[in-house]
């Protein structure tokens, strides 16, 4: 056990902090999930890429700086500590890129990774369907072989695609086998949304941003070169990289550490409230939860660097961060007191936090996974 930051990490942290201090855009940025906010965010994210900070843990040839996971965590801490928002590029970088690194062809990596990191392409996820949320194996959207075109024709509807309204590309699972095959009949496709046979319908979220989209397919084409992994092997690809979604890459501790810090400052700034033991205890609870999440992430990272696979452990993290995020924002609303009903950044944060226990597999599903795969309880 060695919990002391390495000298090279301290240097890395300093360098990141300085670059961010010098290059950050005026804050707060408008929401990256709103029509007006997207261009502003894209400009900033291009600048981040040009500075070499968009994807620190990627190989240099794709725009990264070959940083290890410790430095990636440090970068995330500095990024959120600087008050910067989640990125439009997020879904591609966190959810698709790990799959490309693990299952992609050389050509796919060359064609997509750099453009993804530089927000030349914007990716959204195409998993959920109206009848398939937690039960992904029941997906109904289909991909039909078109030998003449050298690829697959997509049909069906995907929904709740975060930022789908602003994306150029989608990565998604479609059924190439029969409905009865369930998991076995799915294939993972990389889809250009800017083509005939695709129509995108924005859906406003709880917080008013129209980040969600329903995406309808009616014969859109995906060439063979854009099948990720094997035909019929989409489930394996999706599952192998689902760990990323549930823990590390989607919710690095930096975001919660920064939120907890902001909450501490919010209470400190409220004269008369900062000595209220109930508020103090609630704020300290949020701070502790963020720290505990960071510390448990360090354990996961230590394991990964030692060659361990992150499997169902990711479910422990997912439940923990999503519940801490709700509690933290609720505490902030308690601190606001009489003004808790305002459409404030904290209220926005609260609304957003409520999606945490739902998406990327509801917390009920995660608890099933924990009980069955980590504790070994019988499925039925």
């Amino acid at each position: 056990m060695d919990l002391t930051e390495r000298p090279q990490d301290a240097r890395f942290r300093r360098e990141a902090r300085e670059w961010l201090a010098e290059n950050s855009p005026p804050l707060p940025l408008p929401s990256g999930d709103s029509a007006t906010g997207v261009p502003v965010n894209l400009e900033w994210e291009r600048q981040l890429f040009d500075g070499g900070w968009a994807v620190v843990s990627w190989p240099e040839r794709y725009g990264g700086r070959d940083a290890d996971l410790w430095q990636w965590l440090i970068f995330e801490e500095e990024f959120y500590a600087a008050g910067l928002p989640q990125r439009v590029a997020q879904n591609g970088i966190s959810l698709l890129a790990p799959a490309l690194f693990e299952f992609g062809t050389e050509s796919q990596r060359e064609r997509y990774l750099r453009r993804m990191a530089s927000v030349a392409d914007i990716w959204c996820q195409g998993w959920s369907e109206p009848e398939a949320g937690s039960d992904l194996a029941s997906l109904r959207s289909t991909a039909v072989r078109d030998d003449a075109a050298g690829g697959w024709r997509l049909h069906g509807q995907k929904c709740w695609s975060t930022r789908g309204a602003y994306s150029s590309h989608m990565f998604g699972l479609f059924r190439t086998g029969t409905q009865q095959e369930r998991h076995a009949g799915l294939t993972y496709f990389l889809i250009d949304l800017r083509q005939p046979g695709v129509s995108v319908h924005p859906v406003a979220r709880l917080d008013g941003d129209d980040g969600f989209a329903d995406v309808f397919f009616d014969g859109a084409l995906v060439l063979d070169e854009d099948v990720l992994g094997a035909v019929g092997g989409g489930w394996q690809v999706a599952m192998a990289t689902a760990g990323s979604e549930r823990s590390l890459s989607l919710r690095s501790p930096g975001r919660f550490l920064a939120s907890a810090d902001r909450l501490v400052k919010t209470l400190q700034a409220e004269p008369g409230k900062s000595s209220d033991p109930r508020l103090r205890a609630a704020v300290a609870d949020s701070w502790m939860a963020a720290q505990a999440y960071a510390l448990s992430t360090n354990v996961l990272v230590s394991g990964i660097l030692d060659g361990a696979q992150v499997g169902a452990e990711a479910s422990l993290s997912k439940v923990f961060w999503s519940e801490l995020d709700v509690a933290l924002n609720e505490t902030a609303l308690q601190v606001l007191g009489d003004d808790a009903d305002l459409d404030s950044p904290w209220m926005r944060g609260y609304e957003f936090s409520l999606s945490g226990p739902i998406y990327a597999g509801t917390n009920e599903i995660q608890r099933n996974i924990i009980a069955e795969r980590l504790l070994g309880l019988p499925r039925r």
Binding site: S134, L206, D341, D343
Partner: protein, 333 residues
């Protein structure tokens, strides 16, 4: 001893439910979210409620009211909560009309006829609902009520709350005059009670809309309502609601009969109604999943009303402190 509502109250509630089913579908609530929507007090919904006599529940029959008491108020506002009726219900029914009834002349008649809009807020809030349409402003504190007229006050910026069907405006200035003989503490109790009553109605409706949804929504080959986790979430929400509702009616009774613990009972009601509604909102959203997170789903109208009512007429923490003081210090309540 009898904790049930009277048959008159049940009939009154049935009549209101009939009107609201017709006049206040979710589309009407949603329409009030449009920033350019005219104030709800100018809408057909408000007209229907006025005709029903809802706003005069606490006014005597001689002056054109319903002659009801605070239990009736709670019954009616719980029903309004079930439909998420938008607009200054608390301000009108719990505070404004009784205050107007203390004033000489035709004031209360004008309020009941809709000729005059009244609004109210706790002293020190700095804002009023419907300040841009109100003719009469009432400030509530522990002593006598204070009033001002529209020409006496400056209406400032709109206060952007999470529930956009609620129209708050900053209000400054005002030549505030005491309403002689009025009882500010009772008015405050009524307003808090009105918040609590709406909250249990909101909770009730969110539970039932979720119960409906989980029987229709299927995953893994069966309705998600067959999953024990979903059942237990909803059961927990129902347990909280069924133990909050009697607390709210107890408070209503205490105010109606001016019992010595009325203030404590009303604070208790706010605390329990809030907890029940906040829990129902969480459970409802979690059981709906992503569809509940979309603005197009009606659930969010109910949830946001709950969040908006959380600090209304005293934060939950403030009401908790009132109960603690009454219980532990024997503080006057």
């Amino acid at each position: 001893m009898d904790s049930r509502l009277t048959s008159e109250q049940l009939e009154m509630r049935r009549a209101l439910r009939e009107v609201l089913t017709d006049a206040c579908p979710p589309s009407v609530v949603r329409a009030q979210w449009n920033p350019d929507a005219p104030s709800v007090v100018t809408t057909k919904l408000w007209q229907r409620l006025r005709e029903l006599g809802l706003f005069g529940v606490l006014a005597s029959q001689e002056i054109g009211g319903m002659g009801g008491n605070e239990v009736d108020l709670a019954v009616l506002l719980a029903e309004c909560g079930r439909f998420a009726v938008p607009g200054p219900l608390i301000e009108t029914m719990a505070v404004g009309v009784p205050a107007a009834a203390e004033l000489p002349g035709e004031t209360v008649a004008d309020v009941l006829s809709g000729a005059l809009v009244v609004t109210a807020a706790p002293a020190g809030a700095g804002w009023f609902a419907e300040a841009d349409t109100a003719a009469l402003f009432v400030q509530v504190s522990g002593g006598e009520l204070a009033m001002a007229e529209a020409e006496d006050v400056r209406v400032g910026a709109r206060r952007e709350t999470i529930d956009r069907s609620v129209r708050h405006f900053e209000v400054t200035g005002g030549a505030w005059r005491a309403i002689a003989g009025s009882d500010g503490e009772r008015a405050g109790n009524r307003a808090t009670l009105a918040v609590a009553a709406q909250l249990i109605g909101l909770a009730d409706r969110m539970i039932s809309m979720t119960v409906d949804y989980v029987q229709v929504r299927a995953q893994f080959g069966k309705a998600i309502g067959t999953q024990q986790a979903v059942k237990h979430h909803l059961a927990t929400a129902l347990i909280a609601l069924e133990h909050a509702r009697p607390v709210v009616y107890r408070a209503a009774y205490s105010v109606a009969f001016a019992e010595p613990n009325a203030r404590r009972d009303v604070s208790f009601a706010k605390v329990y109604a809030h907890r029940s509604a906040a829990l129902a909102a969480r459970v409802a959203l979690q059981c709906h999943g992503a569809i509940g997170y979309s603005w197009e789903h009606d659930l969010n109208l109910w949830m946001k009303r709950v969040w908006a009512l959380a600090p209304a007429w005293g934060t939950v923490a403030a009401h908790e402190a009132v109960v603690a003081a009454a219980v532990l210090d024997g503080a006057p309540s």
